[in-house]
């Protein structure tokens, strides 16, 4: 995914993450103000975040044991 949105998506990702799941949609609708691509990128990062936590936590326990192909 392009990093064109990174500087704007990053703070929104953080702000959304601090909110309860149920409140995120309304928050993003207001914060993105009709910028659908920006909103899609923040939502994509939020969705990836849950998976990424598990992935990198495993790495945290066993550094560099990327579980690719196992």
């Amino acid at each position: 995914m392009s990093l064109d949105y990174w500087s704007r998506a990053k703070p929104l990702f953080e702000a959304a993450r601090q909110r309860p799941r149920a409140a995120r949609e309304a928050f993003l609708a207001a914060a993105c103000d009709g910028d659908a691509a920006l909103r899609a990128e923040v939502e994509r990062l939020l969705a990836l975040s849950a998976e990424a936590d598990g992935f990198f936590d495993t790495l945290g326990q066993e550094r560099c044991r990327l579980r690719v192909g196992l």
Partner: protein
């Protein structure tokens, strides 16, 4: 132990520090002191320390490789900390240890990439970079592609958010915790946590896409 914020350390503060470091580590200790002062010599010292640690980590990895069996994998965190104990020992302050580990984490990033790239080239059967195969074997073939993809993604992220890339180096390659990373980079633990969360979500997305054929 009193932990001073980095920017409050003046050159004069060095005079108060004990100088009882072993001779072989004196150069590294000197570079760390320059780095910590944060003055004009800082970048040169960082570069010199980086080159020293890059060589040291290669040597330590080779040393371990010689004694390895079967499915052992390169433990980057252990190597980075081993390098610290060898070159600085127990003499360093919390802040100088954090500085060392941050630079070592960056060096570890590129050492690992060198091995992974070599291993991936071998797997493809293509032209191999100049590195003995037994060193490349420090990264198992099935992990090489992921590590190469991770490095490529991290380099893209670094171009737009250098600080986040530093945080990833410390947290992932060096195994530093949030507070150690904050100390090393002169930013707040909260900023570290934010950068880390956003960067790893993005990096994970890149790896997922780049390695579509290979389930993560």
């Amino acid at each position: 132990m009193v932990i001073l914020p980095l920017r409050t350390l003046s050159p004069g503060a060095d005079a108060l520090r004990p100088v009882s470091t072993p001779p072989e580590s004196s150069e590294v200790t000197r570079l760390l002191d320059v780095l910590q002062r944060g003055d004009a010599g800082g970048e040169g010292a960082r570069e010199a320390l980086y080159r020293r640690l890059y060589d040291e980590l290669h040597a330590l990895a080779r040393h371990h490789r010689a004694r390895w069996h079967g499915n052992d994998t390169l433990n980057t965190t252990a190597l980075v900390h081993e390098a610290y104990l060898k070159l600085v020992g127990g003499e360093g302050s919390y802040a100088s240890r954090a500085h060392f580990l941050a630079v070592a984490s960056k060096a570890m990033r590129y050492v690992l990439y060198t091995y992974a790239e070599r291993q991936a080239a071998q797997k493809r059967g293509g032209g191999a970079p100049d590195l003995p195969l037994d060193e490349a074997a420090l990264v198992p073939p099935h992990r090489a592609e992921a590590l190469v993809a991770l490095e490529e993604a991290l380099a893209r992220l670094e171009a737009v958010d250098a600080r986040a890339a530093r945080v990833v180096e410390c947290r992932f390659f060096g195994g530093l915790d949030v507070d150690e990373t904050a100390e090393a980079l002169g930013i707040s633990p909260r900023t570290v946590a934010r950068d880390w969360a956003a960067a790893r979500a993005w990096l994970y997305g890149e790896l997922k896409r780049d390695l579509l054929d290979t389930p993560l």
